[in-house]
Symmetry: C2
Subunit: 217 residues, 2 copies
DNA sequence: TCACTTCCTATTGTATACAATTACCAAAGG
DNA sequence: CCTTTGGTAATTGTATACAATAGGAAGTGA
């Protein structure tokens, strides 16, 4: 995307995710253009994107506010994400080529080395994890899916959990990826789909525990 | 949404769906603002929405063009739609109240009366059908789902099939709705989900036949 | 005190002018 | 004949001014 529009998106997004904005907080386009340092025009572009990702919501009278997720809605989000990522994994398993497999292995290596050290590097972990899932999504070769999924991934979760992962959770993620790679190598779509499903379920479980929302499904 | 922005959305959408625009055709924001009769500002809003629905696509250099779906992509769209609508039906089955049930019955009545006449009223049928599915989506009470699904429904299909439905297909749709209503009344989520899945599959099959794309899955 | 009306203000929506980017084409050089 | 390079026109991106609309506070009457 264009420069101002993109920086607006990123700055507003960080503003929301990294704690400066309270859920439910009212915002105006002008405040956001101050934050982003650009005029309202690109801000409006960014806002529309963030509305699609449901990070921002508009009241009946067009007023903007920061989304405020209920536990039930977060649960639902993980459920949908599990459905769609499973589907992506299934498609990817049928379409995976040797090059992509190698890349997956490499990314997974980075991910593990970020975890296997005295002080795990959460940033590097999250980054590699994202790359891993993005690559699978690409291999699925579905433009629709590529539009739908990113709006579901990560966002409302990052702020609350980024510094709360346990080493055990991080290690489990690496193991899941190992299994996924094996499933892709075997071109076994059912296996890949099943692993992906439980992978996301685990992510939800981790989320529920670290945020003490009861972990009910 | 706002007036100009909304009319722009509708006019451009009609322009695409009702045959004036060829798939792959290049467009400019200025042409679109001529079509819509408003300035570029609201047009850009509308374009962003239509990009999300994948009716418009942007080339690497930001040029706009009308989407051109391959058979495989349309297939994929129906698959995703089936997944999400099934999920919506399952949730709706657990949350359906007496009022909504009555409304569903009423809408279904309208739908059938649009079909059971010497000259079926396709417009009325499509309208009632849409209302039916929208109501189910509302009952599912999932903001995420309500964002994701509408971008998948109907669009790239309407133009090619609107006047091609057979009376048999239309009648089958009414029967599916009967079964869905029964499943909702019984609050049987598995039943509702199963019916919805085959309902969408049938829609895809009908689509494939009437467009002679081979109907391969 | 409560409801209702009426302003004023804050906020969003739209148009337009201008800046920046990109494509297109023609001319030059190999 | 092909490729490259420059310039120009077309197109998208951004800022700003203004219009329209919604919210809220102050005032009025019962």
């Amino acid at each position: 995307m264009s420069r101002a529009s993109e920086t607006a998106y990123e700055k507003i997004r960080n503003f929301i995710l990294q704690g400066e904005a309270q859920p439910g907080m009212q915002l105006t386009e002008e405040k956001l253009s101050d934050i982003a340092g650009v005029s309202r025009t690109p801000v409006r572009d960014a806002v529309q994107r963030l509305e699609n990702e449901l990070l921002l919501v508009r009241s009946a009278s067009k007023r903007l506010s920061v989304a405020n997720w209920s536990d039930g809605e977060i649960d639902e989000m993980f459920t949908l994400r599990a459905m769609l990522e499973r589907h992506a994994a299934e498609r990817a398993a049928k379409r995976m080529d040797a090059d992509s497999l190698d890349q997956l292995r490499e990314i997974n290596g980075v991910l593990k080395s970020a975890v296997n050290r005295s002080e795990p590097d959460i940033g590097a972990f999250l980054n590699a994890n994202r790359q891993f899932h993005d690559l699978i999504l690409n291999c699925a070769q579905s433009p629709r899916l590529s539009k739908l999924l990113p709006a579901l991934v990560e966002q409302p979760v990052v702020r609350r959990t980024a510094h709360q992962y346990s080493v055990k959770d991080l290690a489990q993620s690496g193991k899941d990826h190992d299994e996924l790679i094996a499933a892709f190598a075997a071109q076994d779509e059912n296996w890949a789909g099943a692993i992906m499903t439980s992978h996301i379920r685990r992510a939800f479980h981790t989320f529920s525990e670290t945020t003490n929302n009861g972990g009910k499904r």
